[in-house]
Each structure stands twice: as structure tokens, then as C-alpha cells.
Symmetry: C3
Subunit: 200 residues, 3 copies
């Protein structure tokens, strides 16, 4: 449990950095960048918990998430160029982050007694809706509609988790497999420029 | 009650199709179209229930709504051209859908003990906010600000329902009249290109 | 308490006017302007209360807020030119409004047992998120990302309130000082065109 909590804080920190950096090229000041980092980091989990009526919200209840965000935003302020040059590293962290948050979101919904279909949606929302809200607020086309295999990788990983869970695979193994599935789908689709077919 | 439940599922199905098709011309892949269909179908009712603190949300509690959406999205994927050519038919269905969901939203708010003013707003939100959220996410000007007599037709129908309800008109007759009012206002305003005055 | 309630209604009324006028130059009809006034007036407090799970929402529970909005929207419809020419007066009112709603939001969160960090965020959200939601719906760049010292002035005032509160300064004096801080920061930054540094 301690490891998981630590990973959640690290994931929140990474999301805050990528959120703050996402608007770096645009006409935003430091406050706007910090606000964007905050929204990116908490948006997905907050939406999930509002939909599930699960209160208090994680970051409202546990102030360490706020400090993880604050440190992430300050890092983005202090080393913007350095962090932007780490784009490839960040892609890895971001992929790890969405994979991890997807599975945690699925587990939270299951623990609240939700059906698997709902848990799959909540897992995906946890991972991607922070970025969607950020993009909507900053008038970007949301990431969901740009990077073809992004939210769908999360949804696929969520479904894998739920299938293995129904066969009573142990939690640790299930976590590893379903996180690996999300990472593999996203990496391979980036490498080979695979995208889902368009509707036409 | 069974008829009403069936109509709710059909309405959800139709909203999912129109949501998925709404972004057909744009650069979205199948996942984006499905996501948009989902948001369009559940957005209005979800916002209403969050504002009223009415949990669990309808689609979280009853998984058949998810399947109605899934079938709608798959239909949009499978027959996009055929369905798009049915534009006039869809306009009819969409008008029927917003009229029906407006009145159901009003009734739900009244059943939760809300005042009529709040019930009118909640009825209108049920019908139109799914489309507003969809348009906001996809960077369109929301339908509310484009089609002049759209949300205002719903609000008018909601008010008619509330007035008749206060005179204790029977529910079936009231439903028919207030749904007919919404349909008539929208149809006539389209036919004669009537719009509300602008502010200037 | 009566004075505070009156000020809340007046603040809501002013926010509704400025929301309705904000889209005056654009292609919106009267319904869209009214809707925008409504969202501007209730958006921030509604988001705060959803995040804090504080139900019923203020405007759902007390219908006088709806009427304050309605009167504000009707005023914007009836005297749009006159009110637009009062831009400088409105700037004063808007600044007073965000200062006042910030402090009330902080107090509400504290009364619900929240930590000061959360109360500061909730105070800022109460004041600025109505405008952010309005701008997002109407495809504008949110005010938060445009006017540099806007939300940050609110956050500064919230922090001042919390510091003085922790030293048990009496509520009336604290209200006056923290509201004055917000107004002073915003006024001075406008007058001397001060803005926060950008991230680059």
C-alpha cells in the first residue's frame, strides 16, 4: 500500500509537470501554467469520483497531492527548457502514468461495487479526462481526438484487467499485465504510426 | 412505466447516433466518434443528476443505457452514409428526443422535491447539455448558441408542463401537450426561419 | 447576516449582467445571452459546492438567486448600450464581486471543515470559475489565461484571509482587509499593466 501511495504521488507530480509545460508555447503566464498543471493532475480522478459520488475527493482529503502538484508546477517553472527537452522521457512517464491511473480507477470503481462495464469507463476517465479538461479550457482539440491510440489503449488495458480479475488472477500479476498491455499498445501504435480507422 | 423505459433507451440510442455522426466530417477516429456519442447521450442527464445530488447516476446504475449507446455508436460506424442521408428523419427523432427528455427531467426534479423554477431548468439541461458538452469538447460553438430556437423550445415546453401540472391536469395528457409544444415550436421556427432577437 | 445575504444577491445580479453582456458582440441571440449570464453567475459557486459535496446547491435551494440572475439578464437585454458604456463602473463592481465571493468561498470551505489549502482553492474557484466556464462554452480563451492578475489576486486575498484567521483576527476586520487586498492587487496591476512572468 505504501508503494502504491508513493506511485500515486509521483504520477500526480508528473501529470502536473506535463500539464504546466503543455501550454508553455502559448500566451500564458505562470499562474495560468500552474492552474493548467493542477487541472491536468486532478481532473480525471475528480470527474471519476463525482460520477461515482465518492467523497471526499482524493486531493481535498489528502493535502499531499496538492503539494505533489505544487512541486511539479514549480519544477516546470524552474527548468522549463530542460524538462521540455526530456520529451522522450516524458512520453515514457506519461504512458506509465495513464496506465497506472487507469488500473487504479478500475479498482476504485470495483471496490465501490460498480459493474465491470462502469469500472472500465471510470478507469479510462481517471487516466485521460484531466488532459481532456485541460485541452478544452485552453481551446485545444482534446488529446482524445488527436492521438488516436491513447484513451483506447487505456480502455483496452481496463478490459484486460477486468477479464483477468474475473478469472481471479492475483492482483499483483493482474496489475503488471494490464499496465503492460496499455504501455505496449501505446508504444507500438506510436512506433508504427498505427491509428484507428476514421469514420467515413 | 415499461413504455417510458423503452422510450428512454430509444432516446439514448438516437442521441448516441447523432453524437457519433456529428463529428464525422472532422479528423476524428472511431474511438473519438464513439466517445462523442457517449458524451452526447449521457451528458445532459448526468449534469442534471450531479446538480440535484441524485445518485447513482442513471447509466451507472442501469447498464442497459450503456448498451443502447454502444449499439447506437456501432450503427453510426457501420452505416454512416446511410444514417447521414436520413438527416431529415434524424431531425425528427432529435426533436422528439429533446422534447421527451425535457419533460422527464422536469418530472425527475419535481419528484426530488424541487421548486418549479428549478425543475424547468433541470428539464432543459437534461435535453440540451449533452450536445453543449459535446460541442465544447470538440471546439464547436455549442448548439445552444447556434440554433436559436432549440433550448428555448425546451424551456417553453417545461414551463407549459409545470403550469398544466399546477392545475392538476393528468400526467398522460400533460406529457402529450408539453412534448407537442416543444416539437411545434422547433418545427415552426425551422420552417419559417424564426429566431429570437439578438442583443444589440 | 442580512447584509451578507443582500450582498450575495447583488453580486449574483452583477455577475449575470456582465455574463450576458460578455457575448453581446457575438452572434448570440437573447436566449444565449441569458444562458451565459446564468452560467457566469452560478458557475463558480456550483463547482465549489460539487467539489465539496455541499448540497443542496445554493441556487437550487434558494430561488431568490435565480430571480437576481433573471433581473440581471433582463437589465442587460433592456439597456445593453447604457450598461456597456458603464464599463469602468462594471470593472469596479466585478472586482468587488470577485473579492467578495473569494472570501465567502474560503469561509464556506472552512465551515465545512476543510484545510486552509483547500479553502484557498475553493475561494478562488468561487470567484473565477463562472467566468472560466462561460469562456469555455463560448470558445473564448478563459479570462484566467488572459488577464494575468485576476485569479491570482483572488488567491492572494484568500491566503491573506487564512493567515489573519489563523491569528484570530475578528471576522469583520479580516473580511475588510482581505477584500481590500484583492481589489488593490487587481487595480494596481491594471493601472500599471503589471503581469506575472511568462514561462519560457
Amino acid at each position: 500500500m505504501d508503494l502504491q501511495y508513493g506511485l500515486e504521488l509521483v504520477g500526480t507530480f508528473v501529470f502536473a509537470i506535463s500539464g504546466a509545460l503543455a501550454i508553455r508555447e502559448r500566451e500564458h503566464d505562470m499562474f495560468g501554467a500552474g492552474f493548467t498543471g493542477f487541472i491536468t493532475a486532478i481532473g480525471g480522478g475528480t470527474l471519476r469520483d463525482i460520477l461515482l459520488d465518492s467523497y471526499p475527493l482524493v486531493w481535498v482529503d489528502d493535502v499531499w497531492f496538492l503539494y505533489a502538484i505544487l512541486v511539479g508546477v514549480l519544477a516546470a517553472f524552474t527548468f522549463p527548457k530542460f524538462l521540455s527537452e526530456l520529451r522522450r522521457t516524458f512520453f515514457l512517464f506519461d504512458t506509465l502514468g495513464i496506465a497506472f491511473f487507469t488500473v487504479l480507477g478500475v479498482e476504485k470503481a470495483l471496490n465501490l461495487g460498480m459493474r465491470p462495464e462502469i469500472a472500465a469507463i471510470m478507469g479510462m476517465f481517471s487516466a485521460v479526462m484531466g488532459g481532456v479538461i485541460r485541452d478544452t479550457l485552453t481551446n485545444e482539440i482534446p488529446i482524445l481526438f488527436r492521438k488516436e491510440v491513447y484513451a483506447s489503449a487505456c480502455l483496452a488495458g481496463a478490459i484486460v484487467y477486468l477479464i483477468l480479475n474475473s478469472y481471479e488472477v492475483s492482483r499483483d500479476i493482474n496489475l503488471l499485465i494490464s499496465i503492460a498491455v496499455i504501455i505496449a499498445i501505446r508504444m507500438l501504435s506510436m512506433k508504427y504510426k498505427i491509428s484507428l480507422p476514421r469514420l467515413d
